[in-house]
Amino acid sequence: MWKQIEGSRAIAETVAMCRPQVICAYPITPQTHIVEGLGELVKSGELAGCEFLNVESEFGALSVAIGASATGVRTYTATASQGLLFMAEAVYNAAGLGLPIVMTIGNRAIGAPINIWNDHSDSMSMRDSGWIQLFAETNQEATDLHIQAFRLAEELSCPVMVCVDGFILTHAYDRIDLPLQHQVDAWLPRFEPRQVLDPAEPVSIGAMVGPDAFTEVRYLAHNKQLQALERIPEISGEFYEMFGRESGGLLRPYRLDGAEIVVVALGSVNGTIQEAIDELRDQGVLIGSISICSYRPFPLEAVCRALMNAKRVVVVEKSLSVGLGGMLATDVQMALAGRRQKVFTVIAGLGGRPITKASLLKLFRQAKADALESVTFLDLNWNVINRQLARENATRRSGPAAESILKDLATLPTKMV
């Protein structure tokens, strides 16, 4: 059913259609609208048989979810940024215990300096936690991925994060085809837990495991994600059969035919990238892109196949591994291990800086001209950087960088958006 609706609301309504039995909420921008919506649906009775808990912290939120999931019910929560970091311990724990919790991440930067705007630093920080991480390109996909996430999580008994770009998707009103309840009911099976806290059949969950078995436990977690590599495309296919929409899957290629330059990116920026690609294609530039939906497990083979014929690979990512460069790029390079293609890292859109088509066009033309550095910071304001570096060279005590930079920005002409 088509609706012009805010992304967060669409996600809330869809999660509700998956009939979770426990939802816990703790507010943090930009995820908040989702749990607000769910809270309303539970209170109004539209989502029946569901317990909605307002908890005292993100750590508490995921902990409640752990308890609920271990008791054998479908469990959901959402967070972002600092919130995800504050629950980090529980994030690893939920995965370690193999609890199929689904959690939405309204992707947002991590401070300091505190910043509420979108980038991928938060979910990237948890990429090795053992959770499956799926990135949504559009609000339609964000909506659909949640249904798939519950199925995937419960089949494998493994938690899933659905990563949705904060504000850009969560706060955008879009034209979305919302699934119908009977479709969701028909497509999403009942939750059959692998382990459950039941006085009738008592077990001890969460034993201490020593060197004698820890590696095996970890390998099995890894193996689970390898199984996910098989299931994610299948589930996407099964989803298509019921809902008639392509959503999810490991990755989505765009105009790869004969492409010499292939752009790789996660999430909503792919839309703008595709606009840029169309324009360059019209000018005869052989360029295409792949949008990676499944970041964990990372589809090494699929990526390698997609990039088979590319000469240059430009990885545009909204996160920075400080001191190294790109995390996504590192994974892409692993996918291309032993091949001669050049992989360029472009750090873009940090802390909500808009990634404009104009900047992308400029970037891709440089790529075509083979004028790209291995790591590029898109739209970096060099005036500011140079002044600060100069200051720091001049005196060791140069004060907090952020403040000085803000002073500079005030004096420099900058484009307001």
Binding site: A172, Y173, V269, P354
Partner: protein, 188 residues
């Protein structure tokens, strides 16, 4: 509401705020794209086809009109004339009837009883650009605010539509229309 109106006409629309941590009263921007095909771009609108300015005090802000298309529209919420606002000369490059003022706040006060000009301006916008039919604007307004508030807002929008319609000749139809709206955050 703009995007909803467009949606109701079967068109693709995308609306999003200039995401900020603003509190009530601070100047903000919101964007809307309307198109006949799916909208993929997620960047902010930098070259608007139309600019709705809810608060004339923002008129002298640097780069306000930056990127405005040569054939673009400007609708300003004010009871005063463009000359009185001192922007007439600055905007004379635009086609005639593409720059108008409408006393949206006054109308809002009259019909809604509150100085909330948003929906009122949408009526004016529909009349000025012809991008949207009044009916869909009113429907969008009623969808956004069910109950009586919807009706009063609709009435105000209709009034604005009539006022602007008087002032303009038949406008040309655009296929892609991007609107930037300058306003103050309102509590709604």
């Amino acid at each position: 509401m703009l995007s909803i109106a467009a949606f109701l006409e079967g068109r693709h629309a995308q609306a999003f705020p200039s995401f900020g941590s603003e509190r009530m009263g601070a100047p903000v921007m919101a964007f809307c794209r309307i198109s006949d095909r799916p909208i993929r771009s997620r960047e902010p609108v930098t070259q608007p086809d139309a600019l709705i300015i809810q608060d004339p005090t923002l008129l002298n802000q640097a780069g306000l009109f930056e990127g405005l298309q040569p054939e673009g529209y400007v609708l300003i919420n004010s009871a005063r004339s463009l000359d009185q606002l001192g922007v007439a000369s600055f905007l004379k490059s635009l086609p005639q009837d593409h720059v108008l003022t409408v006393p949206a706040t006054e109308l809002a006060l009259r019909y809604i009883g509150k100085p909330l000009p948003n929906s009122t301006l949408l009526g004016g916008f529909a009349a000025m650009t012809g991008e949207l039919r009044l009916a869909s604007v009113l429907a969008a307004i009623r969808q956004k605010f069910p109950s009586k508030i919807g009706e009063t807002n609709a009435a105000a929008a209709e009034a604005a539509f009539e006022q602007v319609k008087q002032a303009v000749a038949q406008p040309p139809l655009e296929h892609l229309c991007a609107i930037r709206e300058e306003t103050h955050v309102e509590a709604d």
